[in-house]
Symmetry: C2
Subunit: 207 residues, 2 copies
């Protein structure tokens, strides 16, 4: 393996070890000693890959957004408008074990991020990207007549971001009240509300 | 001051000292030594009021919900239906400095709560109370014709809880995109959508 690739691969392994520790025991469990042991390094062996814990934490927080965006890009394909918006929302929600671990790790970072400008910027930058994606596809949806004329883009973007952020944490702390089915239904409810209803003459509901 | 009242008052002061430390430096800053110093006790002096740190943390997390409920009860007064629901939502949102501190403290607890069954129960119990309050007033609103017949109570309750939970954290980590005005507008948008529109013959919009 070329040296540079090897280095990057090791960094990812260390970040993934950090995730596993946080998912098991929360932010407090993620000491450099524990992370080194989990990643199979001697104590102090992480220094070659991350200059300090802060740099590792930034990489671990960034990866929560990166993973969502990577899956969403793949799943979006040629979709545009509301279909593209729905794909991104689905990748943000903790609907399966993989996404539940991502949520657990993201939530673990929020307390630290609120007191740390670098982590706060990681969060704000990623939200800016999502905001832009939602805006772009809402405008596309408006231009094709998929959404109603009077829909206020900014309000819909806010609602989607705040709802999906709430859904990082509520299923974690109150799993009995938040099934994956309900999470999907709420996103669909928000999207259906703004959709321009085009009655299908074939599928008129009976009664 | 009677001895029992004095004891309870000291506990509240210690909890409030814990809040100030968390609001300044996050969860990690809240060591028993720091809390004792902030509350004006000698190191080890908190033992008379809280048997250990876990008991203090439970009290501090509970108080984030207690404060919201106390203000909401006062502000609700005789209001019912959507007006009562709106009052509770407003008390949950970080619209002023007091409520921003509450959000900051609540968010700080989520990581720990996700790995601690006692703290998780504090969260779930409080959400169950809010859920019940929303359900009760939505049913009242339905019985008086304030909301449309077809509104699905459970979905509205989910949406309000997930949205207000998201709004504990987004303004904290991305304050530029989340003004208090937008937060209020989103809650009003959700409530307006389910409201039974009764056109006011006096106030027909011109044009």
């Amino acid at each position: 393996m070329p040296k540079q690739v090897d280095h990057e691969q090791r960094r990812i392994e260390i970040v993934e070890a950090t995730w596993r520790i946080i998912a098991r025991g929360g932010f407090a469990a993620a000491t450099m000693r524990e992370i080194a042991a989990e990643a199979g390094f001697a104590n102090g062996g992480l220094k070659h890959y991350f200059v300090n814990k802060d740099e590792l934490l930034v990489a671990a927080f960034q990866r929560t957004f990166y993973r969502i965006n990577e899956r969403a890009a793949l799943a979006t394909g040629e979709r545009t408008g509301l279909a593209a918006i729905r794909v991104l929302c689905m990748e943000m929600l903790p609907l399966d074990r993989e996404r539940q671990v991502e949520s657990r790790v993201a939530v673990a970072f929020w307390d630290r991020a609120a007191s740390n400008p670098v982590l706060m910027k990681v969060h704000a930058d990623s939200h800016a990207i999502w905001r832009h994606f939602f805006e772009q596809h809402l405008e596309l949806a408006r231009s094709t007549g998929e959404i109603r004329e009077e829909v206020a883009t900014a309000l819909v973007v806010d609602e989607l971001l705040w709802l999906t952020t709430g859904l990082q944490v509520v299923p974690l702390l109150d799993p009995r009240t938040t099934s994956p089915i309900n999470q999907v239904r709420i996103v669909d409810t928000v999207l259906d509300r703004i959709r321009h209803l085009q009655p299908d003459p074939v599928a008129v509901p009976a009664g």
